[in-house]
């Protein structure tokens, strides 16, 4: 079987398109690269959707945590503490358990026990908590001059937040937020490994990598392939976030921009 044929058969196997049965003997390098690559679809899906949706919740949480009102601040603080203070392993376990018991009560929760929704929700809450902490730190370090200038223009409420506070917060938080994005993509590898069951052998990159490691009894081929894919993914994330960073800082003079990047703001 040629490699092109393999790519046709297994390129989209992880989402159920192509050959129904996985290869079972005479594993070629091409099959391993194709199937593990196909599994990356899930890693990218989990990472991108959780990151984008988590971004909004994180902003809200950060503002709530910085709020002087106790009724807003306390819940946000607890949410962030619980999700940042416990391993993802345990969060997946409780997430799955919770969705199972909800499902037995109300049929509308049917989809929640499958990874595409259930694991996504756990990852979404997890990344929201981590990002919120980063955004909160950035909120506190917004230069006083910026907010004073906004006040001087008579800006209040929503326009003041949207046009002054929020852009500055993002600018300050961006390097650390890039790190969080990298960690989140790495965390997606845990979904099928410990948290949620894999249906019909549709799994993520790590699922296929361990499938091959198990069949060929040789961990030194599939896992480095997996590592290679993730390095590529990380480079993409760094590239995209770098472009956004450049856009966020486009109003600054060249010299100051360079300095921005050097800020040791590596908080996760």
């Amino acid at each position: 079987m040629s490699c092109l044929q393999t790519i046709q058969d297994y390129g989209l196997r992880s989402i159920g398109i192509g050959e129904r049965l996985l290869p079972r003997s005479d594993f070629t390098l091409c099959e391993q690269v194709t199937l593990i690559g196909s599994g990356m679809i899930w890693n990218v899906y989990f990472g991108v959707v959780a990151l984008i949706s988590g971004f909004f919740l994180a902003t809200a949480l950060a503002v709530a945590k910085a709020s002087p009102r106790k009724g807003l601040r306390k819940p946000a603080e607890w949410f962030i503490f619980i999700f940042r203070g416990s391993p993802l392993f345990i969060q997946f376990f409780f997430g799955y358990f919770l969705f199972l018991s909800l499902k037995s009560q109300y049929p509308m929760f049917d989809a929640f026990t499958s990874a595409w929704l259930g694991a996504l929700i756990v990852l979404y809450l997890n990344t929201a908590a981590y990002s919120a902490e980063i955004f909160y730190g950035a909120l506190l370090s917004i230069p006083k001059g910026d907010t004073e200038a906004a006040d001087a223009y008579g800006m209040t409420g929503w326009p003041r937040f949207k046009r002054v506070i929020w852009p500055t917060m993002l600018r300050l938080a961006w390097p650390a937020y890039t790190n969080e994005a990298i960690f989140l993509f790495h965390a997606t590898a845990l979904v099928f490994f410990s948290g949620f069951p894999a249906w019909q052998q549709k799994g993520d990159a790590l699922y296929y990598a361990s499938y091959f490691a198990d069949k060929t009894f040789n961990p030194f081929v599939p896992y480095p392939i997996l590592a290679g894919y993730f390095i590529l993914l990380t480079l993409c994330v760094v590239g995209v976030f770098g472009a956004v960073n450049a856009r966020l800082n486009r109003h600054l003079p060249q010299e100051a921009r360079r300095k921005m990047r050097l800020r040791p703001n590596l908080i996760r």
Partner: protein
């Protein structure tokens, strides 16, 4: 454990629980908490060492050295730790045994790779084939420490690298003006000042490290999550004196409390360290402390 534990079937609930929680497996479970704490205590300084060395190499003025440092940081950071753990420990173990084999058994004539088997001479085995179990466990534990340190060393290197560049340029120029050599400037001015910039990143790394401990089982160390899963699973009366249903939820709840408490304690400790490091530094935090002292 207790004298009344001879026949669990006859016990009332409180006593049953007391006996259940002190069985041999549970003692292993409690030991695994110490194991995890021990691993963290050893890994943190070693990883910091790796990080410091990595950062120093990455900012070296010799180009190939600096490439090696930067490649280490970029590659290890780019790979999920779980994928790294799945093959790296075996590779590390084989590498050690290969080196020892070369050193200890020069007149060995069989190939080391026989098909898929990796065979070295008896004297090169790590640990030796007749070593007691605790040596094997210690060896496995050290491999885990090294693997963890390499992974987290890369992250630490990234943080320290950034922190070294964040020390105000003027400070270094002052040192040069006093006639210090490059080496003196590095050790006497840059390194002491860098920590305050590195600490926020390093303390976050510590938090991430705490939460990576469930991956220890992949490295052959029986950690708390492994035991919680093992003990919480349904037990039928045929194989245990203490049968019970699926109790994983309660065990995981215990772990959750442990991790949250540990995180909280770490946060408080790190806040204190930060306060001490900020003292007298030319940063916003140091400025605030000075104002506080005056007022």
């Amino acid at each position: 454990m207790f004298s009344f534990c001879t026949d669990p079937d006859t016990l009332d609930q409180a006593r049953w629980l007391a006996c259940y929680l002190t069985t041999g497996v549970h003692l292993s479970f409690y030991m695994s908490f110490l194991k995890v704490l021990g691993l963290l205590a050893v890994t943190a300084p070693v990883a910091l060492g790796f990080g410091f060395a990595g950062a120093m190499v990455a900012r070296s003025h010799i180009a190939p050295l600096s490439w090696i440092g930067k490649a280490y940081i970029a590659i290890v950071r780019g790979v999920p730790d779980i994928a790294f753990f799945l093959f790296f420990v075996i590779a590390l173990d084989q590498a050690f045994e290969y080196l020892r084999h070369k050193a200890l058994c020069p007149d060995w004539d069989e190939p080391i790779r026989q098909g898929r088997d990796f065979v070295v001479c008896q004297a090169a085995k790590l640990p030796l084939g007749n070593a007691p179990q605790w040596v094997h466990e210690t060896y496995g534990f050290s491999l885990a420490v090294i693997t963890f340190s390499i992974v987290f060393g890369a992250f630490a290197a990234n943080v320290i690298f950034g922190a070294m560049r964040a020390v105000p340029r003027a400070q270094l120029e002052t040192a040069e003006a006093y006639g210090m050599t490059r080496r003196q400037t590095f050790w006497r001015v840059l390194v002491p000042q860098m920590w305050v910039f590195a600490l926020p990143g390093l303390s976050n790394l510590w938090m991430v490290l705490i939460k990576a401990t469930p991956l220890l089982f992949l490295l052959g160390v029986e950690d708390i999550v492994y035991w919680a899963r093992e003990l919480g699973g349904t037990k039928t009366p045929r194989f245990t004196d203490y049968p019970h249903g699926d109790w994983r939820m309660w065990y995981f709840l215990g772990l959750l409390v442990f991790y949250l408490a540990f995180t909280r304690v770490s946060e408080i400790a790190l806040d204190r360290i930060m306060g001490r490091l900020t003292l007298g530094q030319a940063t916003a935090g140091g400025e605030a402390q000075r104002k506080g002292a005056v007022a």
